[in-house]
């Protein structure tokens, strides 16, 4: 093998094979075999991804074309993969964390029957396959295949327990909301094709000067519509919290390694287009920060362990969009990476808790679990510290980079971002304290069965905890360590064009240090406050009132959408059908009735035997045919 990059197709191929094997043989494989197939294929992809990453790090990149997918006129859309710094980094995140989640699932899903166990792993593999297509594609159409593919897989996995009609409704909701975004993405593709005749990244980015400012704004906004669907931003975010209906490892997969990072990846990939359209950048930043705050505020009052984490994902994604909006592309990718570590950790930790608590998800019924589940407890705490942004945990570095860039762009972004960070610290430590500290508040039976999870579940937790702790060290800010930002150097070629077009707003070092450690000090205070307040949490019967109730009900956004969109669409469909039946069709039937009347009178002349009509008709045809064609020869 002289150049591993030429074999990049192996990376998506392994999960695809895993999907087919588990999918087709689901009735014939044992649980352990389908677990091995499922996890093993991802591990194989991970190994190839590491080799590719090394090669890229050594300086070689490339495009591998498999065949021409769609062709019309001069336009050729190849089925091709692009290997560069950005995609190789994502490969590592997807396959690496993906593997840990698969491994974890072998234990977590053990109660399922053989067939459904295999089905689960088939879906999981398909999910990873789709995500790999998404990041590997060398053009927007191949990206779109993966883009819709992850939407489909989330549909299949959210509705995995298909007997429950609520779960399948959540699945449908996820698919439809994603589709709304996808429609925007598609329109952007058509726009690009009509203006440039190509959707291949390299060609699009090199011809970017031939696009007018207006073109760029429309294209980038349409693509961003796609991103709001996939990455759960306002206004299309409400599917993600409902996606909790799926098994917990699936949530980890959706929130950390695949799916929601797609929007970030897409914009980072298209960075030059965004850099050149300041209007869109502002929109992206504003939507990002607004989502970050909205979701964080909702998370403050949720009592379902997975819901809190779900809203925290929406909120963290908001930060990533803020970063993209202010042109801090590296910062956004950095946060994708650290977030992947700690959010996978937190979700798998939550899964471990739910497993130990026998499917209990309400944190009001937990408490004191640190005694029973020491590994889960410690790793979860690490995850919380990382997401809260405490030095030297990974989240500190990435969040700080985003906030510093936001400050340089517009101090208001920074202030809002800082408020969001404080809320994050608060709800995470509320969650942590209510779950692990204090006294156990569940039933005696639950307490009796409490246990630490098996090794297949705790090993991924430990690995992820190590990365959540140390993963930020690849991006130490200049102000703390000269040349400490290895990630920045690595990704520089991908963002080079954007960097050259941007005027750097550097903030001076002392301001940066004050902001950095000032915020962290306040965060620490908030953590202590939340810890104290919720360690001694007692169940009360009193209901939330005022703002608390609004937050608990998620600002009533679901209700709003239901009233403004879902119900009117349904009513409209019903109304149209009435119109069709009693309007257009009535006229037609009027004609029909009069003919029917006439025919009833005429029928007396006819025999009424279908057979005789047909026979006559057929004889006539044959006669014509034979006479005219063959006799004339």
């Amino acid at each position: 093998m002289n150049n591993i990059i030429d074999y990049v197709w192996l990376v998506p191929l392994f999960p695809l094979v895993g999907f087919l094997l588990n999918g087709l043989l689901r009735n014939h494989v044992s649980k352990s075999l389908s677990g091995i197939i499922g996890s093993g294929t991802i591990l194989a992809s991970f190994v190839v991804s590491i080799l590719i990453f090394m090669q890229v790090k050594a300086g070689s990149t490339g495009v591998v074309t498999l065949f021409n997918f769609i062709e019309f006129g001069k336009t050729v859309i190849p089925f091709a993969f692009q290997v560069d710094q950005l995609s190789s980094l994502f490969l590592l995140i997807i396959t690496g964390i993906g593997f840990l989640i698969h491994l974890y699932s072998t234990a977590y899903m053990h109660e399922e029957s053989d067939m459904h166990f295999a089905r689960y792993f088939a879906y999981l593999n398909l999910f990873v396959f789709s995500m790999l297509l998404l990041v590997l594609g060398s053009n927007y159409v191949i990206m779109f295949i993966g883009w819709e593919g992850v939407g489909l897989c989330s549909y299949l996995l959210i509705g995995y327990w298909f007997k429950n009609i609520e779960y399948t409704s959540a699945a449908k909701k996820a698919f439809v909301m994603n589709r709304i975004g996808d429609a925007g993405f598609l329109l952007a593709v058509f726009y690009l094709l009509s203006k440039l005749g190509t959707v291949t990244y390299i060609d699009v980015f090199s011809k970017v000067d031939s696009l007018s400012g207006q073109d760029l704004t429309i294209i980038t906004l349409l693509l961003f519509v796609g991103a709001t669907g996939k990455s759960a931003q306002i206004p299309l975010y409400t599917w993600l919290p409902d996606a909790m209906a799926g098994p917990t490892p699936v949530s980890a997969l959706i929130h950390a390694a695949t799916m929601v990072t797609a929007g970030i990846y897409m914009i980072a990939r298209s960075n030059i287009l965004y850099t050149l359209s300041p209007v869109t950048q502002t929109v992206v930043a504003v939507v990002g920060i607004a989502t970050a705050l909205l979701a964080a505020s909702i998370a403050l009052k949720q009592n379902d362990i997975k819901k809190v984490l779900a809203y925290s994902t929406v909120s963290q994604l908001g930060y990533m969009f803020l970063a993209l909006g202010v042109g801090a592309y590296t910062g956004a990718v950095f946060h994708v990476m650290t977030h992947a570590f700690f959010k996978a950790l937190l979700f798998l930790g939550a899964g471990s808790v739910i497993h130990g608590m026998h499917h209990e998800q309400d944190i009001r019924n937990m408490g004191g679990l640190k005694k029973y589940m020491p590994t889960t407890h410690i790793t979860f705490l690490i995850g919380c510290l990382a997401i809260a942004g405490i030095i030297p945990f990974s989240g500190f570095f990435s969040k700080d980079e985003i906030l510093a860039a936001a400050f340089a762009n517009n101090p208001l972004y920074y202030v809002l971002g800082a408020i969001g960070a404080l809320m994050t610290a608060f709800y995470m430590f509320r969650l942590y304290s209510m779950t692990f500290q204090g006294k156990f508040r569940g039933t005696q039976e639950q307490e009796h069965h409490l246990h630490e999870s098996p090794a297949a579940m705790t090993i991924p937790l430990v690995v992820l905890a190590i990365f959540s702790f140390g993963g930020g060290l690849v991006g130490i800010p200049e102000v703390l360590m000269h040349g400490g930002h290895a990630l920045n150097d690595f990704l520089a070629p991908v963002f080079a064009a954007s960097t050259s077009k941007m005027t750097p707003h550097a903030i001076d070092h002392s301001t940066e240090l004050i902001l950095m450690f000032g915020l962290m000090a306040v965060i620490l205070l908030v953590i202590i406050l939340a810890w104290k307040k919720f360690s001694g949490y007692q169940k009360t019967a009193s209901e939330e009132t005022g703002l608390g109730k609004v937050l608990q009900n998620k600002w009533y956004v679901d209700e709003l959408y239901d009233a403004v969109i879902t119900r009117p669409v349904n009513a409209f469909g019903k109304g149209l059908e009435k119109l069709d039946r009693f309007g257009i069709d009535w006229i037609v039937n009027g004609v029909g009735r009069s003919v029917q009347y006439a025919s009833r009178q005429l029928r007396l002349l006819q025999s009424g035997q279908v057979g005789s009509y047909v026979l006559l008709m057929v004889l006539g045809i044959i006669l014509l045919f034979v006479l005219q064609v063959f006799l004339k020869k």
Binding site: R179, S194, G592
Partner: protein
């Protein structure tokens, strides 16, 4: 020789079946005949793929200077392939359905097949009209004899609609005949230089027949009723193949024959198409009867093809071509599932079904894949067609409103997800109902039929080139004739 065989085999077998009284024998003979047609079609596309084998041209009605001229060019091949592929699959997948006077049922089916083949190959206006009617009349009998409760009323509606359309078409063809100096030859039609008034008149006369067949809003009201009331095997023919007669008519007998009028009327018809797509999609959301749901979804999907023709471009036309084939096989898949459900549970009402995924996992998986094709998921065949059509509409140089149409039309891809997934959810997921608690999974023949379709769906979805290259020349010719890039 191939074209003649493709017509003669179903025609003669169809007639012969009227003499065979046993249903089982008749069915087997019919099935065999469709397989032979398929084999000949495949031979025509491979070993006999040369002008001598694919063309047939003899004098026919001398007094009218009408010729029995059949050609299997790229577009004809595609549609004849669809026809000869669909028929055996239809008979095979509905093998366990029983019919009173089964021999006549299958006889009429084969006569319809002969007519359809003729429609797709005829290069003479009179001959085209003849086959057009030959395809229609057996279906009229099939619906009225073997349909549901309201069959008579519905068939009359269907008949009047299509008959009126055909009548106008005949007048249009006769006008063309005189303008061409007493020739019905298609090759003469496309050389005509008509005044814009003449083109306009002929356009209107021809377009009605095609609009009814597809159907185009607001000529559609026969369709949901007819699809609902016909026996499913007949509904399959109506939707998988007959609907393509209309689209095919536009592509062969309308756009190249009266290009200026097609261009001029483009925006009017494109608007109708967009309105119809949205209209049908919204209505589909609220359907409880599976057949009506598929019928409305089909109106929406065909609407997109009409739109792509009236806002034309090369990408769009190629999209229509491949989508004619795709729509055919995808909707067959939907009908096969509907038929299984109706045969097993005696109902097509979504509200009475549920929980089939627990009882019939194989059916569920296959239905989900077909449903994904129905909503044009990437890597299924329909994505290729819809992508190329939307792209063509957006970039069409024939209209100023391409972008508007594309944006309005794209809403239907969201709605298609809504109604398709709603159906999947309510029929297959959730708890079982009293009707479905004893459900069993599908028989082997249905499994095989669906598996064949699914292989087609995915192969075309990954590698559409073989089909696209079949029609590339014809798409270019139509555009050239319309003076478009």
């Amino acid at each position: 020789m191939v074209p003649v065989l493709l017509i003669l085999i179903p025609l003669l077998t169809g007639v012969a079946l009227f003499a065979i009284r046993q249903e089982a024998t008749a069915k087997s003979i019919a099935f065999l005949s469709t397989l032979v047609s398929l084999a000949i079609m495949l031979a025509g596309m491979s070993v006999w793929n040369d002008a001598a084998h694919l063309s047939f041209n003899q004098p026919w009605i001398g007094a009218l200077n009408s010729r029995f001229h059949l050609e299997l060019d790229g577009m004809s091949q595609l549609l004849c392939l669809l026809t000869s592929f669909s028929f055996p699959l239809i008979i095979y997948s509905t093998w366990n359905n029983t019919y009173v006077d089964g021999n006549r049922f299958f006889g009429l089916m084969l006569l319809a097949q002969a007519g359809l083949m003729g429609v797709f190959m005829a290069m003479d206006g009179m001959l085209f009209y003849f086959f057009w009617e030959l395809a229609l009349i057996p279906l009229y009998f099939l619906c009225s004899r073997w349909g549901g409760e309201k069959r008579i009323q519905v068939t009359i509606k269907f008949f009047i609609y299509t008959f009126l359309g055909s009548l106008f078409m005949l007048i249009g063809l006769i006008m063309l005949y005189f303008k061409a100096g007493g020739s019905f030859a298609w090759t003469d039609f496309v050389k005509l230089n008509l005044s814009s008034r003449e083109e306009m008149t002929i356009f209107i006369l021809l377009v009605v027949a095609f609009a009814v067949k597809m159907p185009l809003f607001p000529f559609h009201t026969w369709q949901p009723d007819t699809y609902e009331q016909s026996p499913t095997a007949v509904t399959m023919i109506l939707s998988a193949i007959m609907a393509k007669m209309g689209v095919f008519g536009l592509l062969r007998w309308l756009a190249p024959v009266v290009p200026a009028a097609t261009y001029q009327w483009g925006d009017n018809f494109a608007t109708l198409a967009v309105v119809g797509m949205l209209y049908a999609s919204f209505i589909a959301i609220k359907q409880d009867d599976l057949k009506r749901l598929v019928a409305w979804s089909s109106i929406a999907h065909i609407g997109l093809m009409i739109l792509a023709l009236f806002a034309p471009s090369y990408s769009g036309l190629q999209g229509i071509m491949i989508q004619m084939f795709n729509h055919g096989i995808n909707i067959l898949g939907m009908w096969i599932v509907v038929n299984v459900i109706e045969q097993q549970f005696g109902t097509r009402k979504i509200s009475e079904l549920g929980g089939l995924a627990q009882k019939a996992p194989v059916l569920t998986i296959m239905l989900v894949i077909v449903a994904l094709a129905n909503i044009a998921m990437p890597l299924t065949n329909a994505f290729i067609g819809e992508f190329m059509m939307f792209n063509g509409i957006w970039g069409s140089t024939a209209t100023k409103f391409g972008m508007v149409y594309a944006i309005a039309g794209i809403i239907t891809i969201i709605l298609s997800a809504v109604y398709t997934l709603r159906m999947v959810q309510n029929v297959f997921y959730g708890p079982t109902t009293t009707r479905t608690e004893n459900a069993v999974d599908i028989r082997f023949n249905v499994q095989l039929a669906l598996a064949i379709l699914i292989v087609g769906i995915i192969l075309i979805g990954i590698y559409p080139k073989p089909i696209l290259s079949m029609t590339s020349e014809i798409s270019q010719q139509i555009l050239d004739r319309m003076n478009l890039k």
